[in-house]
């Protein structure tokens, strides 16, 4: 039971960047490999506000979200839009370059030291023998509210309709005056990714590799959900979280990402459009 609970919480954590990945994938049609480095950057932005300027985490997290959203916009305009003949392979390689730059800029300023956010330590809540610590509670509440908000935007607003239109059929959307390469999606991706970074940092430590440690899980979640489908990504993330945590009972936790890898390969072989995706795979 404890493993199930932990799995759900870590699934919620993975869900945020997985949604971000799906949003940008659905719209630009390329898998953003810099998402791991973006998570790390979000964590460091929060660390900067929290530890260097003494802001409480409730302020540091929004600061990180805004900061990373700005950065995502800058990268989108500065890099992805500039790459000429932007087929998705070129964009993939470019995003790998971006990840490399981000990670090493962080190393430049902060070194490889392991840091922690300055948060008060509290006793875990215990209920019928199940333990839920405050960090996990924060993760669950934040992730759920962020997801509810994204769902609201996608389902109930004009903006959401436009976003879904682009991801369904970009050409048709273009005809109706909804262009690709829109800044607003990157803003959302930035906010969600930053929140994930802050939550990961809250749950553990801040170091230059934290985002990379989640990269495989995030991709696996997005693929299981049918890449490009934000709602599927949430389900995929919960599955990945549960599988990772329950497998920890049998396999050493150092191989968590290995478990995700196996799940990823199995899904690609057996149901390449994802568990919740429609069969709309081109080529």
């Amino acid at each position: 039971m404890q493993a199930l609970l932990n799995g759900l919480v870590s699934g919620l954590l993975i869900a945020l960047p997985a949604i971000a990945l799906s949003l940008t994938y659905g719209i630009l049609n390329f898998a953003n490999f810099s998402i791991g480095a973006m998570i790390t950057t979000g964590a460091y932005l929060a660390y900067m506000a929290n530890a260097s300027f003494g802001a409480p985490i409730a302020i540091a997290a929004p600061v990180a979200a805004v900061g990373l959203a700005l950065l995502a916009i800058v990268i989108q305009h500065g890099v992805y839009r500039q790459v000429r003949n932007a087929d998705h392979v070129t964009l993939l390689v470019a995003s790998m370059g971006v990840a490399f730059v981000l990670e090493n800029v962080l190393r430049f300023f902060y070194g490889a030291d392991v840091r922690t956010l300055d948060v008060p330590v509290a006793r875990p809540l215990v209920w019928n023998g199940l333990r839920l610590n405050h960090e996990q509670l924060t993760i669950a509440v934040t992730a759920l509210s962020a997801m509810a908000f994204v769902a609201f935007i996608l389902r109930a607003t004009r903006l959401g309709r436009a976003m879904r239109a682009i991801s369904d059929d970009p050409d048709l959307a273009e005809v109706r005056g909804i262009g690709r390469n829109r800044t607003v999606d990157w803003t959302w991706a930035g906010v969600l990714t930053a929140l994930a970074g802050v939550l990961i940092a809250l749950d553990g430590v801040v170091d230059p590799t934290i985002g990379m440690n989640y990269l495989v899980s995030v991709f696996a979640a997005a693929v299981i959900g049918g890449i490009g489908n934000p709602f599927g990504a949430v389900a995929g993330a919960l599955i990945i979280g549960l599988v990772e945590e329950t497998s920890a009972l049998a396999i050493s936790t150092t191989y968590r990402q290995g478990v995700s890898f196996v799940v990823l390969v199995l899904v690609l072989l057996l149901r390449p459009q994802g568990l919740f995706g429609v069969a709309r795979i081109r080529r």
Binding site: R84, T90, A94, F100, V101, N104, R107, V216, Q257, L264
Partner: protein, 306 residues
């Protein structure tokens, strides 16, 4: 100083081999390998572990090549019906898994301590003081042989079929090509070359640990290929040299900017490499070499204008 040049040229040869592999997998067959570093590590560790158990160095190198090729084929099988993105994700995840195994399976790989004192092949014959030069010549010879082999493959009907698949796999399949088999073969050939480079890496440094096979190796290889012009093995020679000059040139950065710590200048170098990669993609996506057409076929053919 001569020693330094020999070392640099050896590094360049290793980089060229990795670039050849990527040119085969990505340039010819259009298959993205973001886990190159992982395959490189498998080559190096296979050679190192076998040499440690007393296997002759050359046999160990052949085993490393076979092992890397086989694993490449296996990994490529997982995603072959899908777009390049999925292969990129899978190979990246595979490299991460390799890193975890190398770091944690201490009984086999020595964990973070790595493997030291790897026996160099033919050292008894060549002798210690001449060995560096001998090794460089060996590397250059292997680069030449690999170049000729790959050139042959590229110009063969097999190579043409690969490029056809890269451009449009549905058309190629319609014309009776076995897309799956061709792709697996192309990925395995690239894997074999990576395995060779890995084995040479292990023998050259005589010490390996998991940190040497991290993502930066993949980034260097991609940069060498992109600088040289994707698909051009001749351009790659130039590309690999450029990347190495950049790497080595920025090594002296800390001499000019003394405030930086060693750690900081190392990070700055890597960040600059990444920025360089992005800049090339933006400003010169076809690479500095214009040999793309020349290097593939003697006669121009329509599939060379992507």
């Amino acid at each position: 100083m001569t020693g330094y040049f020999i070392a640099i040229l050896t590094f360049v040869s290793l980089a060229v081999l990795l670039g050849f592999a990527l040119n085969m997998q990505w340039g010819q067959a259009g298959m993205l390998n973001f886990g190159l570093a992982g395959f490189y590590g498998i080559g190096a560790y296979t050679a190192a572990i076998l040499s440690k158990t007393g296997v002759d160095g050359l046999t160990a190198a052949v085993a490393a090549i076979a092992m890397t090729a086989a694993l490449s084929a296996l990994v490529s099988l997982a995603t072959l019906k899908l777009r390049e993105d999925y292969l990129a994700i899978t190979t990246l995840a595979f490299a991460e898994l390799v890193r975890l195994v190398l770091t944690n399976e201490t009984w086999l790989t020595g964990g973070t301590n790595g493997i030291r004192d790897i026996r160099r092949p033919l050292i008894g014959l060549v002798g210690g003081e001449r060995y560096e030069l001998f090794f460089l010549l060996l590397c250059l010879a292997l680069v030449a042989v690999t170049y000729l082999l790959l050139d042959r493959i590229t110009r063969s009907p097999f190579g043409r079929a690969l490029r056809a698949i890269r451009e449009d796999d549905v058309v190629a399949a319609t014309l009776g090509k076995n897309v799956l088999a061709l792709r697996v073969q192309a990925f395995a050939i690239g894997g074999a070359v990576i395995g060779l480079a890995g084995a040479l890496h292990a023998y050259y440094f005589t010490y390996i640990d998991p940190t040497e096979f991290a993502g930066f190796v993949t980034v260097y290889a991609f940069m060498a290929v992109i600088v040289g012009g994707k698909g051009s093995n001749r351009g790659l020679l130039l590309g690999a040299c450029t990347v190495m000059v950049l790497l080595e040139g920025t090594r002296f950065l800390k001499d000019f900017v003394p405030v930086l710590s060693a750690q900081q200048s190392a990070s700055l170098r890597l960040a600059l490499i990444g920025a360089g990669l992005v800049a090339i993609l933006i400003f010169r996506p076809q690479g500095i070499s214009s040999e793309y057409r020349l290097s593939i076929g003697r006669s121009p053919s329509p599939d060379l204008n992507p």
